[in-house]
Symmetry: C2
Subunit: 198 residues, 2 copies
């Protein structure tokens, strides 16, 4: 619809996840009217993220070095590994400041419909990390949905024979939520996982 460059930008933006045609148009016009230097910085940030960022050779978290900040950090507890699906999950857990161990990013979850099996995930690399005697506990922190649960079940079956402590994050009512709005499965899990107050 638009002339050359504007339409190209709208098309490129529209290919990004969660940006529909209307948003793409709004963002394109914002870019058009915004400060040139700011927009050059945005363009450079896109190119440089592709050039600079790679994945940690140990845990597969995003990193600008061969190993990530967390794996390099000598103050972290090396006896616990928290297994997550994505780098985003690492950041979500880091923000809570309630975990001081290491991570292992699987790179997704088992999803037969999308053709993702265990061999597409970094499970083999996790197993080789566990051959080291240092690790005493593996916390399975995959998403509490169908694919995440399938992945957790697979990990339990695969890691079980090694004889390391395997734990799973608690499911239950979200803090700040309303009991009446909780879905049946969550409420059921909250009952199963009830804790003694005495």
């Amino acid at each position: 619809m638009y002339e050359g460059a504007v339409q190209e930008l709208i098309d490129e933006l529209g290919r990004l996840p969660g940006i529909g045609p209307k948003s793409a148009q709004r963002v394109a016009f914002h870019i058009l009217e915004a400060d040139s230097d700011d927009m050059k910085r945005l363009a450079e940030a896109i190119v440089s993220v592709k050039e600079k960022v790679k994945f940690c050779q140990i845990c597969f978290n995003v990193s600008e070095e061969d190993t990530c900040r967390i794996c390099r950090d000598a103050s972290r507890d090396r006896s616990v590994i928290c297994v997550v699906e994505e780098s985003k999950d690492v950041m979500a857990i880091e923000r809570t400041r309630s975990f001081n161990g290491l991570y292992h990013v699987l790179g997704g979850s088992i999803n037969p419909i999308a053709g993702v099996g265990p061999e597409q995930l970094h499970v083999r690399e996790l197993l080789s990390r566990l051959s080291d005697d240092e690790v005493q506990e593996v916390i399975v922190a995959t998403d509490p949905n169908l694919e995440g649960e399938a992945t957790a079940t697979y990990l339990v079956r695969t890691l079980g024979p090694i004889g390391i402590d395997l734990t799973r994050l608690a499911s239950g009512l979200p803090v700040g939520g309303d009991l009446e709005y909780a879905d049946d499965v969550t409420l059921g899990r909250a009952f199963e996982g009830r804790r003694s107050l005495s």
Copy 2:
């Protein structure tokens, strides 16, 4: 939170309109995992839109030439000018294929709270276009909201004395909508603007 380049990209994306921190993170990780060439194209589209696109010297629509495609088109009816707030509105009207005249993009609407008065809009340039005898009708197609109505009122007062036909887009029920869900003002306008069926 993230290391260098990833965080920079999230920050830059988060400054775009309608993209919150979570969306910025999702888009950043998409960029990180997407094809390098695709992302280079996106970065180039951002830079090139700033370099190539300017505003039509006649109507202030976006254009890659000194005058836009519509102003250059000899088949358009030069006796009607449709006045809109933004280039986006030009495209919205073009999509309907129900108008074959020219446009005039004001570059916004009168908004005293945001400090935008008539002198910040391309009203003077509109007046000089009307000094030409060719134009017989001006359609005021500003948004049907407070600022758009204020702008329309101002235009009527300013252009009235020139003695050109001034019209305003009809307000009424949106096609495909439900009467019971229409707001009071829209429903009131629909009554005022009712048309004879006989």
